[in-house]
């Protein structure tokens, strides 16, 4: 196989099949934002530190700034837009609003996608464990308390609702 500087790829983004030709140096979030107009994924640092760019690839949370678009060939991408539309984290989003767990909102999509991984297979967790799980996502506004509160409360809610047994 030869090395290329542009590549044609097919992928699914929020359930929609997409074909595109992209420069290989482009990272996934630039593709989502610039080419597809999905601006819910944010770019804070572009070196893996802030977590604002978190998206799901084949169901797993990754740093969108550290993955090339060309590497998403054949993959299933989910962004905050798709997760919001599906209602999968509606309870978490409502709790973020209720508890003021966002101010400027820059970190929020990344926080939600990171926290969503905990809520899929809910198990009882201490605040310390929740903080550990969220440790890769920076928030410059809230001081984290309300974010941890929101995640803890939705986690408790889902456990009580027996979501863990599904």
């Amino acid at each position: 196989m030869d090395a290329v500087t542009r590549a044609t790829i097919t992928l699914s983004v929020n359930g929609e099949p997409i074909a595109a030709t992209v420069p290989v140096r482009q990272h996934l979030v630039d593709f989502l934002r610039e080419d597809l107009g999905l601006t819910g994924s944010h770019l804070g640092c572009e070196h893996g530190v802030c977590g604002a760019c978190t998206v799901r690839v084949d169901g797993i949370a990754v740093r969108g700034c550290l993955m090339l678009t060309v590497q998403a060939d054949g993959r299933r991408i989910e962004t905050i837009e798709g997760l919001s539309e599906s209602g999968a984290i509606a309870d978490l989003q409502a709790e973020f609003v209720a508890r003021n767990a966002l101010q400027c909102g820059f970190c929020t999509s990344g926080m939600l996608i990171t926290a969503a991984a905990l809520l899929e297979r809910p198990r009882a967790m201490s605040r310390g464990e929740i903080r550990e799980h969220l440790s890769g996502n920076y928030c410059r506004c809230t001081g984290y308390q309300a974010i941890v509160d929101a995640v803890a409360s939705v986690l408790a809610g889902r456990i009580a609702a027996g979501a863990g047994d599904r």
């Binding site: 500087t5 993955m67 890769g136």
Partner: protein, 285 residues
């Protein structure tokens, strides 16, 4: 910032990846998890000619027991190590350490092969490999060779890997009833690189230390085997007094650097505190 221009090649098998490495030489970079390479590219700290993506090379994946060793493919993600029942049972030191490597989204992509090839002095997995006396298997188009972890890590971001080689797998001896482990690190925030850390394996028979492999990382320029600490422990009964002797002997082993993370004297003290905790873990096990 954005990555510079480069070309991209998706390898589908190991011979193909090695052949590409041969033809592009020092202008090529292997792309594994990308969790260290991509930041370097986005910062333009590195301007390679071509990236050889090995994520599609199935031969580099998997964790398996093979006789008395565990084979860990170079493409094994940190999250796979963390979740592996084989690792939890057969290499518990790795299971304890990998939780300290970065954050969940980074562990979902980052690989053991990438971490070992990069040889960041503050990385957890290289130190564990040295403590576990792991063997690293490197392949080139001329064949493959095996090297012990202690010989592989040579300095700051410096390894014995040659430019035409790909790290293929690591081989770790399986847990034995006499083997105990300890791990502790100091970092500013959970998931950050260690300011100082200690990975330790010990063979203990009849409450006596038959072998102690205590490895200090973070404060040193590469995983440092604490040979004085090991000598102080040899043949002695695990006890509070032994713990104090190991901690005292460790001073002879340390050569910390002064940097923004702290002064050398401070790091010596932190290393001694962590060593005390690790020996306590081994004593309690």
């Amino acid at each position: 910032m954005k990555a510079p221009n480069f070309a991209y090649l998706r390898a589908t098998d190991l011979p193909g990846a090695l052949a590409a490495l041969d033809s592009y030489g020092t202008g090529a970079r292997i792309l594994a998890g990308g969790q260290s390479l991509m930041p370097a590219l986005n910062f333009r700290l590195d301007v390679p000619e071509v990236l050889i993506d090995i994520n599609g090379v199935a031969a580099l994946t998997g964790i398996e027991i093979q006789g008395d060793v565990i084979r860990i493919g170079a493409l094994t993600r940190h999250a796979e190590l963390e979740a592996s029942a084989v690792i939890a049972a057969e290499a518990p030191l790795l299971a304890a350490a990998v939780r300290h490597v970065a954050h969940p989204a980074i562990r979902n992509r980052g690989t053991i092969g990438g971490s070992l090839s990069l040889a960041d002095p503050a990385a957890e997995l290289p130190a564990c490999m040295v403590a576990l006396e792991a063997e690293l298997v490197l392949a080139s188009s001329a064949g493959s060779r095996t090297i012990g972890a202690a010989a592989f890590f040579r300095g700051l971001f410096e390894t014995d890997r040659r430019p035409n080689e790909i790290l293929v797998e690591v081989r770790v001896k399986r847990q034995t009833p006499n083997r105990r482990h300890g791990f502790a690190e100091l970092s500013r925030r959970h998931g950050d690189f260690a300011v100082v850390g200690i990975a330790c394996q010990a063979d203990v028979a009849d409450a006596k230390v038959a072998a102690l492999r205590l490895v200090v990382f973070g404060s040193e320029s590469f995983p440092r085997v604490a040979s004085h600490a090991a000598a102080a422990a040899q043949g002695r009964v695990l006890s509070r007094a032994l713990r104090d002797d190991i901690v005292a002997a460790l001073l002879e082993d340390l050569d910390p650097s002064d940097n923004l993370q702290g002064g050398a004297a401070t790091k010596r003290q932190w290393a001694q505190i962590l060593a005390g905790r690790v020996v306590a873990q081994i004593t309690a096990a």
